[in-house]
Point group: C2
Chain length 376, copies 2
């Protein structure tokens, strides 16, 4: 158990599973529910740490797989860990690399030991095992590190997912043993189990018995139907300990976050805000706008006049339309900044409604079953 | 004569023509000598206005030609002019579009009236005359607007340059007549004359007789030898009025700025800092570094520990090496930010030495004839 971490449950919604918390970490507090932007190789794409801070993001992600390939964890470690390397002094979470490695469909070879693959950068043979993943993450030095898990692909049959989930559990035990910095880095277990409710429940119960400092739900962000994702979250989240943070991996659209919060999830991450930004798209109050659209050409209002981000405080839709049409970097930067601020605000507005006791009423429309138009 | 502008001569170097001034404009003061970054289409590439402000740049440039093509001056005018459109509240200068139009070698047709060319964007026929350039610049609303001039290509013979310079003078007279906002926008005349000292001197004398609020030296930034550039500046600058600002167009390398300041120049602009930044290069104390170089991989010091820019205050060379190697936008942003801050600081350090009376001694090495290694 990590002594540098403490989960404070601040309020619970009387009509849903939603909760507001404060998670105390060695690099400061994270008020939940909250969206976390992704800084894949140690940079939230296009933004300085100072700009990311202005979005209200209190915690960010980085990807172990990418950082292992470039610059390599030893460089990051010598720089004082990720916080020093990327000049971000608030909490950071690193994933285990599993998700990326399992996405390398042709190059990998999976055994009980771990996964072997050829680097897509230089072709060298790399083996990532649970021990190696934790070793790399110990060197990267994030506040939260993730267990190395197997992510079953969508459509995998029951028996195969069952075997995979059991292996993920054995790998988790090895991760716990390998972890060298439990006082400074909280190791989260990841509940897998595909779309099978009993496998998810069983996985959740065995992980909880290990008394980890936090828990994640994995394998729901790609390829599965929205309704199935939600069902998995609804079944799994309530089984996780009330006094530990709960993180839904790779999810960060409005509706999916609202529904997951109602099920008791605290933390989210997604690449959508920066990816949309780089494609000239803005997230505005639940909608996705293409800023190249001619309707913005003479629109001298901000993206969202109720938004307090730098972009909305300084730039008009007409200026953003001009920047995006001109292919100017500032267009992508300004939209990424706004999109992150927008998703952080969506979650912090929900937090406020949980504190007020008005969540179930105020967000009733978001909790209905409907397709999220911003899902990429 | 523009009433919203006032040139204050603060100090003169006793041994060179260098001078320190404060130029008061409708959008605030510009302490000279000073480097001005370029914001071609209304954005200093990759940087927010807030970031540009932290570099110490007090005045920036924008390009009339580019803004006319996209988004068009009427959009900018409706946005409240360039200051409102791009959210930059300090002084702005627009060029006349002449330089870009004359660079379109195959597409243009030059007459006494002006220049006709096909838009490289959509093929439509565009005519820019002195009147049209001023009309566009009046709509863009920058503090300084430039006369529409003909830029003789390098290598042009004496008689041809003479005829061109005389036409530039006739165009200037038309610009003055066309200018609708002299109280808010200072129209600068541009001394042309190629490499011919007598043509430069004659042009300078006739322009000075028109009592304009400021003067520029044009046609020295491309294609000519460094020694010839310097000779032209040395001959021309002292002929310009002592109580008006002097701007050397398109020049912004260390040595060329130092020598031009010694000849009495106040203002500079150049795209080098952002262009180098986008190519992963840093300007550091007179040198040009390629941040991709492996020697930076484990170098955990800032680019320049005496530099107070955001990049140097937060990022190490190792981190910049990692960002540039990864093709991350933040690498280009961080280097552009530093490079602008570096060139602004080079000129403000010189300003301080002029105030101290130590310029000729402190910058003796920069005033020698030598090749500037950072010249692109």
């Amino acid at each position: 158990m990590s002594v540098g971490f403490f989960w404070e449950l601040v309020a619970k919604c009387p009509r849903t599973g939603a909760r507001a918390g404060i998670w105390h970490t060695p690099h400061g507090r994270v008020e939940t529910p909250r969206f976390m932007p992704v800084g894949t190789v140690g940079t939230v794409k296009g933004l300085t740490p100072a700009q990311v801070e202005t979005t209200g993001a209190q915690m960010i992600l980085a990807n172990t797989y990418h950082l292992h390939l470039q610059p390599g964890e030893s460089i990051v470690e010598k720089a004082g860990g990720l916080h020093g390397f990327m000049a971000w002094n608030q909490p950071i979470l690193t994933d285990s690399g599993g998700f990326q490695v399992f996405s390398l469909s042709e190059l990998r070879q999976i055994t009980e030991t771990g996964v072997k693959f050829r680097s897509p950068r230089d072709g060298r043979l790399i083996e990532i095992t649970p021990e190696r993943s934790i070793e790399i993450q110990n060197a990267l030095g994030a506040d939260v590190i993730m267990a190395f898990d197997e992510c079953p692909p969508p459509g995998m049959g029951y028996e195969a997912v069952k075997a995979s989930t059991e292996r993920t559990y054995r790998w988790l035990e090895r991760c716990i043993t390998a972890h060298q910095r439990p006082d400074e880095q909280a190791l989260f277990g990841i509940v897998q189990g595909g779309i099978y409710e009993d496998l998810r429940s069983n996985a959740a119960r065995s992980l909880v018995a290990l008394d980890l400092p936090g828990y994640a739900i994995g394998g729901v962000s790609v390829g599965e139907e929205t309704a199935l994702i939600h069902r998995v979250v609804e079944v799994t989240a309530p089984l996780l300990p009330e006094h530990k943070p709960r993180y839904l991996m790779g999810v960060g659209t409005y509706r999916e976050m609202a529904k997951a919060i109602a099920a008791g999830i605290d933390l989210f991450d997604c690449v959508i805000p920066t990816r949309f930004g780089r494609h000239g798209a803005a997230l505005v109050r639940g909608e996705r706008w293409n800023l190249k659209n001619a309707r913005f050409k003479e629109d001298f209002t901000p993206l969202d006049e109720t938004c307090s981000c730098y972009t909305c405080a300084h730039f008009t839709r007409a200026y953003l339309n001009h920047l995006v049409k001109s292919g100017e970097m500032l267009g992508y930067i300004a939209l990424s900044l706004h999109n992150i601020a927008e998703l952080v605000r969506f979650t912090t507005d929900i937090r406020r409604s949980i504190l007020d006791g008005s969540f179930a009423d105020d967000y009733a429309l978001w909790l209905e079953d409907a397709v999220d138009v911003t899902r990429s």
